[in-house]
């Protein structure tokens, strides 16, 4: 039996007027809602950009907004984030500038990494947001190492790492959970169980019924949380963080939700799951659920919704306009940031290409199929 987090879920039939969770003000609640809206708008716009051929690839987080914003609000700036490609809302809430994120999607000259990473692979040092890897699971043990380092330095920071249900099968979920528990690292494992790893449903991914039970292999507390209930997510994350800060070690949080969209711009979910299933989950839309709560709390109005949506759209349009107008990175940048210096072999390659090919009209061929 798993320990289910005792948080009043917003999915229950009777919705009593509830207290605002500890740590949050009404102002925070509105900010959370706004961050969810921004995340959703970002998602929709980016998919559109991809379909229009203006960016090469996109992977969305439609339906997973509560997991992102609920956890993000529980973190402090000193904390560290090791996320996957499906948490743009965490980056945004954290303070990674929208322009920075959109520049990544376009891989333009102002992109922090000058087009060296695919879309949806953000990085931001000032906000302790680690450069995202495509490789499933690798960030989990890195977050643990980071948390161990904070402990060695006697700093108060914790690390949080996000990964999916598929990620629980990876080597470094195992090494990460094991190291963290064995060494009492102040690390939060945010398992976003959106029930699919591309086409593989979670029932094929593992024999265990409740993913939070995976904590039991490591001697770590594990909780299953309604991942579509932002306040439940917030509360569980906050408690895990406080526990970590008290030196009581790591926690696994299974945020149970649903990947309401395709895996990515290359995926066609109709090949492997039914419309009915998706519709069932769409009725549990975390934004709609939170909106009901805010309405009850008299914190939501139609006018405000329009305002924040329009604001989000305007910010997106502006950022996209700028990003799209920027040139590609200069060829010179190709040779930077491999090492702190340019080794001879690479310097020779640089010289050769810049000297002989600068005038050539070279273009990309092929498209990203996944």
């Amino acid at each position: 039996m798993s320990m289910i987090q005792e948080v009043p879920t917003m999915t229950t039939k009777e919705k009593p007027q509830r207290a605002i969770p500890e740590g949050l003000t009404p102002f925070d609640l509105k900010q959370m809602y706004e961050a969810m809206i921004m995340t959703r708008e970002y998602d929709e716009r980016c998919f559109k950009l991809q379909r229009q051929g203006r960016i090469g690839f996109y992977a969305g987080s439609f339906g997973e907004e509560a997991c992102q914003i609920g956890t993000a609000f529980a973190l402090e700036q000193k904390d560290w984030i090791f996320s996957s490609y499906r948490q743009p809302g965490v980056a945004m809430h954290r303070g990674v500038p929208l322009q920075t994120m959109v520049n990544n999607l376009f891989g333009n000259a102002e992109d922090i990494v000058q087009g060296k990473q695919m879309p949806v692979h953000y990085t931001h040092k000032a906000h302790h947001f680690l450069s995202i890897s495509s490789v499933i699971g690798t960030q989990v043990i890195q977050a643990v190492g980071c948390a161990m380092a904070a402990k060695v330095k006697k700093d108060d920071a914790v690390a949080i790492t996000y990964f999916g249900d598929g990620g629980t099968s990876s080597n470094d979920f195992h090494s990460g959970m094991n190291f963290a528990a064995a060494m009492k690292a102040p690390c939060i494992f945010a398992l976003v169980n959106n029930q699919y790893a591309i086409s593989i449903p979670v029932q094929k991914q593992t024999g265990v019924e409740v993913l939070a039970d995976k904590a039991k292999a490591y001697g770590m507390p594990g909780f299953q949380v309604d991942g579509n209930d932002i306040l439940a997510v917030y509360k569980a994350t906050r408690e895990a963080i406080l526990r970590a800060r008290r030196g009581e070690g790591p926690t696994l949080l299974e945020l149970k939700t649903y990947r309401a969209g395709p895996h990515s711009s290359s995926d066609d979910p109709s090949r492997y799951r039914s419309k009915e299933e998706t519709e069932y989950w769409l009725k549990r839309d975390p934004i709609a659920l939170f909106r009901e709560y805010l309405t009850e709390m008299e914190l939501w109005t139609e006018a405000w919704e329009t305002e924040i949506r329009e604001n989000a759209q305007a910010r997106l349009s502006e950022a996209i306009k700028i990003a799209e107008s920027l040139p590609q990175p200069a060829w010179e940048t190709l040779f930077d940031d491999v090492y702190s210096y340019v080794p001879q072999a690479l310097a020779d390659q640089k010289e050769d290409i810049l000297a002989h090919e600068s005038g050539l009209e070279l273009t990309n061929e092929g498209e990203f199929p996944l």
């Binding site: 891989g107 490789v135 598929g166 099968s169 090949r271 990309n364």
Partner: protein
């Protein structure tokens, strides 16, 4: 004859081999119901069922380790690694186990697993969806490394790999998965593992290449022909074991050698070709052996077209050796 893309040729080989031999099984991420993210395993699940076309958990180490155990038992597993970039979590199983099973059991146990994996750039995939890790595997005794460059070879080589007794890393150039079609016989055929293929005969310079680089070399050769230089293009097809004889004969004829590959230049597969020539045919050389390769950097996203060897760059190398 059927007109097939390279991807369709792979799919067709899998259908035929699974029909021919009950022991052939396919496993990997999304290979079942979804037919593989590239659709290479399309239709297999429907035809052969979940027992022989296995959707696995997300663990490359698990996929390859399980395949080894299956092969030891007597099945013929053809696991798919979704992108060659994600083969590294399975590196230990491949290098320590798959490659050494026959050796360490004195030939008693074999694990003739055929690992299929799409590799290479040109699809705007950035560094986690574009790598060319063939050199790692060629440096690992016990493994065979096969890379087709066209639909005909893809089908014939994959069939030969599946029927063979030794492990194969079968790398598919995803850039040209759907780039062109080719007539492929309906009748059963194999392309044997080992021999290289001279896809263009020439007298002035030998260009050694494989996978998607064969097209690049051919285009460079056309351009060179305009300058009156006649390039010979050798499609290696099998990287290990290497067809040393064909390579040396070509160099002895032309006196000039260029190797083209997408992977980072340093310690890439081209180094082996150059070293072999420098060891066994140096007296025939009239120019330096040049390598046209990827850069000594991770694979970039936006500027991948600068990173990857392109016809103009290969042509420059031809110019250089001809002018030497």
């Amino acid at each position: 004859m059927a007109d097939l893309t390279l991807l369709q040729a792979v799919n067709s080989a899998l259908h035929e081999e699974m029909t021919r031999d009950d022991n052939v099984v396919v496993l990997g991420e999304d290979v079942g119901l979804n037919g593989g993210v590239f659709r290479a395993t399309e239709g297999l699940y429907q035809k052969f069922g979940a027992e022989r076309v296995m959707d696995t958990p997300l663990s490359e180490s698990g996929i390859i380790g399980a395949a080894i155990g299956m092969a030891v038992y007597g099945l013929k597993p053809v696991p798919e690694i979704q992108f060659a970039d994600f083969i590294y979590p399975a590196f230990d199983q491949i290098v320590s186990e798959l490659a050494k099973m026959r050796y360490r059991s004195g030939g008693d146990y074999t694990s003739p697993v055929v690992i299929r994996t799409p590799y290479g750039g040109g699809i705007r995939g950035g560094h986690y969806h574009s790598q060319s890790p063939e050199a790692y595997f060629c440096h690992t005794p016990g493994l065979q490394v096969v890379i087709p460059s066209n639909p005909y070879d893809a089908k014939g080589l994959l069939k030969a790999a599946i029927r063979g007794e030794d492990p194969v890393i079968f790398m598919e150039p995803k850039k040209i998965y759907r780039a062109f079609k080719q007539d492929v016989p309906e009748a059963d055929y194999v392309v044997p593992i080992g021999p290289a293929n001279i896809v263009r005969e020439g007298t002035d310079v030998s260009i050694f290449c494989y996978g998607s680089m064969v097209q690049v070399a051919l285009r460079a050769a056309e351009k060179a022909a305009e300058s009156g230089w006649n390039a010979e293009i050798v499609d290696l097809r099998t990287l290990y074991p290497l067809d040393i004889e064909t390579i040396l004969n070509s160099v002895k004829k032309t006196g000039r050698a260029i190797v083209v590959y997408e992977a980072p230049k340093t310690c890439g597969y081209g180094a082996e070709i150059a070293a072999t020539i420098a060891e066994k045919a140096i007296d025939y050389l009239e120019a330096p052996i040049l390598r046209v390769a990827g850069l000594d950097t991770p694979f970039p996203y936006t500027l991948e077209y600068v990173y990857m060897p392109h016809p103009a760059r290969v042509y420059r190398a031809i110019q250089d050796v001809m002018a030497y």
